[in-house]
């Protein structure tokens, strides 16, 4: 779990992904051809002569950006990605250069009236000049919290989507030699509009694309009804706000899971979308699907995941690649579209 801890500790607010990108590049060393795109996507290519498949996991995370420092040295912020004010309140914020502060909203506002743009980070500066010597405008900050694991339960910040990054890295390391032409892409700027993914497939034009991201669950008190449970296995996405999964891709994933006895769930998400939404529009259209890792308390500093789900996600990615190796034979097992 050392790798997952390192990944969740790394800094990678959307648009400021250098730290996480360097870490991932280091892990991928020696596994294939590594490249970095203008928007910061990190790609690993494991060449083969067979079907071309692209897996994408976004490496960025939600955070804040310093936009204004008042005379007393308090740092007002803009949200980077989908923050909700009440879950962000009183969080610790660590800026890219290491300076740490507390995200506050003052004491007089009702929680329902909170807006991110009214909130400020207190970095302990005495005044504007001192604050300006500590951080600069435009600098991003991440939400800080500890990595915990007990039994199979993982509690950490930013399992969205370092869990997906972990799964891709592990799969790349454990992959058996095969014919498939495989790309693992770690995308940038997903949380602010799937921007990295919009460019990820452009010069690859794969036969299939699969996003590896996280999803919500429907197994906690008083939550939205959803047929996904923590610990019941990785999810095969059927539909979300941005995609109806290509049936052939779904069948490839599902048969791969069945053949390797990997538990899985089917996911229908009523809100949110993933890199898959953008990938499907690239290169004149790509057959696209997604694998989702179940998480509770998404977009908070205490996201909860399950270790076995994570291990099974790695197995599932390897199984899909294996299936594509022998694709012409196995396609008969899949529903023809």
């Amino acid at each position: 779990m050392e790798l997952l801890k390192k990944l969740t500790d790394a800094f990678g607010v959307s648009g400021s992904e250098c730290d996480i990108a360097e870490l991932i590049k280091g892990e991928l060393e020696g596994l294939g051809e590594i490249s970095v795109s203008p928007l910061g996507n990190v790609s690993l290519h494991i060449p083969g002569n067979g079907k071309k498949i692209l897996f994408a996991a976004h490496m960025d995370e939600i955070g804040v950006m310093a936009r204004f420092i008042d005379d007393n040295g308090f740092v007002y912020i803009s949200a980077v990605g989908g923050l909700s004010a009440h879950t962000a309140l009183n969080s610790r914020i660590r800026f890219e250069n290491g300076v740490c502060g507390v995200l506050s909203a003052g004491e007089k506002k009702e929680i329902k009236d909170l807006k991110i743009t009214d909130m400020f980070v207190d970095i302990g500066a005495k005044n504007k000049a001192e604050a300006e010597s500590m951080i600069s405008l435009g600098m991003c900050g991440k939400f800080e919290s500890n990595f915990e694991i007990s039994g199979n339960t993982i509690i950490s910040r930013v399992l969205d989507n370092r869990a997906g990054c972990f799964a891709l890295i592990k799969a790349a390391k454990e992959l058996e030699k095969c014919d498939a032409d495989i790309y693992f892409v770690f995308t940038s700027q997903e949380e602010i509009g799937l921007r990295g993914a919009a460019t990820a497939a452009y010069d690859i034009c794969p036969d299939y694309a699969i996003a590896v991201d996280i999803t919500d669950t429907g197994d906690t008190p008083d939550c939205e009804k959803m047929a996904v449970k923590l610990g019941d296995g990785p999810c095969i996405k059927i539909m979300d706000k941005g995609i109806v999964t290509n049936h052939l891709v779904r069948d490839i994933i599902e048969t791969a899971a069945k053949e390797e006895n990997i538990p899985y769930q089917l996911e229908i998400l009523t809100a949110g979308s993933t890199d898959a939404s953008m990938l499907q529009f690239s290169c004149g259209g790509i057959k696209t699907g997604a694998i989702s890792i179940p998480l509770r308390y998404i977009h908070t500093s205490s996201e909860m995941g399950n270790l076995v789900d994570l291990q099974n996600t790695v197995k599932l990615i390897c199984a899909i690649c294996k299936k594509l190796c022998n694709f012409e034979k196995t396609i008969d097992n899949c529903r023809k579209i």
Binding site: G15, S37, L39, G40, R67, T117, R195, A198
Partner: protein, 339 residues
């Protein structure tokens, strides 16, 4: 030049007057000129070096209205694009190619109740009076779908301030024209005058896909709300504070290295420059940075008060600063070390 550009009519997709003016101004200064089916105007400048392609854009369209209907009494109903309807009452406008003058009205104060006067009038309850006394008479002057622009003169006032309509984005157009005429481009550069920005970055998206540049810079006007009662930090920019840059706005996350390098360069060359203090609005960077493999991109903006109104106000210092910084990018890009 800015005076002439702002006096032209060019609401989204009715931009030919602006495009024609720009074409005639730059045609003898370009190595090649191209058009596309949306009327984007592509001006190519050969660089001292090859190997990289740079792209600048300025959009030619402005906010305005379309005639959506004519009443039996000869009044025009209208639809606006990107305008706060609270500013409209009592304004003078020009309708169509013939520039038929009109005024935006509602019933007179004498006929309103105290309650009505407390509420903002909705656009659907306003009309444009073009002096016609019947539908037939109005139809001789205009028709459904005709464009309507603000009637607003270019005026200089205060210390270097300018008031005009459509500074968004004729100030960008003026900057780009000047760049085409005067800059000694380092790399092969496409200076593109883009259409239909105000209705969804349409021209810019198409142009960026066509060029697939290595570096993209949008020359834009941005909001400036340094006005009474505005909470500090939410004013976005300051008038006279110089060319505005931003790491993030309502639509994009600019390339951080590029923005940082631009700020450094501005400091070195004593070009007035400011960072936007609030993430709002959006521009063509949003559309351009996700074409192809992705594009390193940022926007240079001139702060304008009362954006999207007939009375946009800017400071000539900021315009000058935008030009100087854009020229730095055009002439000495490699020194920024961002490609």
């Amino acid at each position: 030049m800015l005076k002439e550009l702002t006096s032209l009519s060019g609401i989204s997709s009715y931009e030919n007057d602006v495009l024609d003016y720009i074409y005639s101004t730059v045609k003898d200064h370009c190595d090649r000129i191209e058009h596309d089916s949306t009327d984007n105007l592509y001006c190519f400048k050969k660089g001292r070096k090859t190997g990289k392609t740079v792209m600048f854009t300025a959009h030619t369209d402005e906010v305005g209205f379309l005639v959506s209907g004519i009443t039996d009494e000869g009044y025009l109903k209208f639809s606006s694009i990107g305008i706060d309807s609270r500013i409209l009452l009592g304004l003078r406008v020009f309708v169509g190619k013939n520039r038929t003058p009109g005024v935006i009205g509602i019933k007179a104060v004498h006929l309103t109740t105290a309650d009505e006067r407390k509420k903002a009038v909705e656009e659907k309850n306003m009309y444009i009076d073009i002096g016609a006394s019947s539908k037939e008479e109005a139809e001789k002057l205009t028709e459904k779908g005709d464009f309507i622009v603000f009637d607003s003169d270019y005026t200089e006032f205060g210390d270097g301030k300018v008031k005009a309509k459509a500074l968004d984005d004729r100030v960008g157009c003026a900057t780009l024209i000047k760049l085409i005429k005067e800059a000694n481009f380092e790399y092969d550069t496409w200076c593109v005058f883009t259409v239909q920005e105000e209705v969804g970055l349409r021209g810019g998206r198409i142009a960026a896909k066509r060029i697939l540049p290595d570096l993209f810079i949008a020359l834009e006007a941005t909001t400036c709300s340094y006005i009474p009662d505005m909470e500090k930090g939410k004013n976005v920019t300051n008038l006279g504070g110089g060319v505005a840059l931003s790491y993030m706005d309502g639509g994009f996350m600019a390339d951080r290295k590029l923005v940082g390098a631009l700020i450094e360069r501005a400091k070195e060359r004593n070009i007035l420059c400011q960072l936007k203090s609030y993430a709002s609005g959006g521009n063509e960077v949003r559309a351009a940075q996700t074409v192809g493999r992705g594009v390193i991109a940022a926007a240079l903006s001139v702060p304008c008060r009362y954006l999207h109104s007939p009375l946009t106000v800017m400071d000539k210092k900021d315009y000058e600063a935008m030009y100087l910084l854009a020229k730095e990018v055009a002439e000495n890009l490699s020194a920024l070390e961002v490609l």
